[in-house]
Symmetry: C2
Subunit: 118 residues, 2 copies
DNA sequence: GCTATACTTTACCATTCGGTTTAGTATTGC
DNA sequence: GCAATACTAAACCGAATGGTAAAGTATAGC
């Protein structure tokens, strides 16, 4: 199931585990934005937003570029392909597992009936 | 884009942000397991594994049941539907955004040519 | 009934997280 | 050149993480 490094999954799922950061991603999906703009939109200090952007950047989900005194944030090259693949792979495993359990349940019902006849 | 509570996304993406917990999910996809079995398989103390299982349980990804002195862990009812949906939705946004940027780049190229003619 | 097993609880530890404040640096605009 | 703007860096804070060890409880098996 491992598609790429565990550390990458750690970083990207970790990045997604915070509502503010998910919001920033959605926002950047609509338009690039400066750190100040993002900080205002999410009601937090500049320094606070900087940390969130740093986490998104380290996860490869966002890239930033400083021009003059403004650092502009935009979506990175990675569109969560591997994360989507991991989840899909898990969902498949999950479905298979539940099919197995269904079989077990069926088996149990069958046995119960048989026991009832003894 | 919000499909259900932010806290739910926080919990499940947070649960997925650790390699041990992802491993536990994959393991439980193959067979149910006791806390002790999981602790051994992932080379950690019982108490340590108990915390991981607790996090997975709170995220709704795992359910446990104690019979006698053994607590058995199995996959929960939720198969990361909403998380998969969030990521897919984001991937769509991402693709759209990059199409927009392509248009901007095209526009710039067009203008450059026009400027070159002046 | 005694022992081993399986878990639970608690306390502890270092690190990270999500946030702040404060003080600094670099740019812009008048 | 000077004030405002935009970020950067650092220190600090309380809470959560990821792990441990140690002591307690409950159950299984002889």
């Amino acid at each position: 199931m491992v598609k790429y490094s565990q550390a990458q999954y750690d970083a990207s799922f970790g990045a997604l585990s915070d509502a503010t950061r998910r919001g920033v991603l959605e926002q950047l999906g609509r338009a690039d934005a400066s750190i100040t703009a993002l900080a205002e939109r999410f009601h937090m200090t500049l320094a606070g937003m900087q940390k969130h952007v740093g986490i998104l950047e380290r996860a490869g989900l966002v890239i930033t570029e400083k021009v003059g005194r403004v650092r502009t944030c935009r979506l990175g090259k990675r569109a969560l392909e591997e994360e989507a693949a991991w989840i899909e792979s898990y969902r498949q495993l999950w479905a298979t597992r539940f099919d197995e359990l269904d079989i077990v349940v069926e088996e149990m019902k069958r046995k119960e009936k048989a026991d009832g006849r003894n």
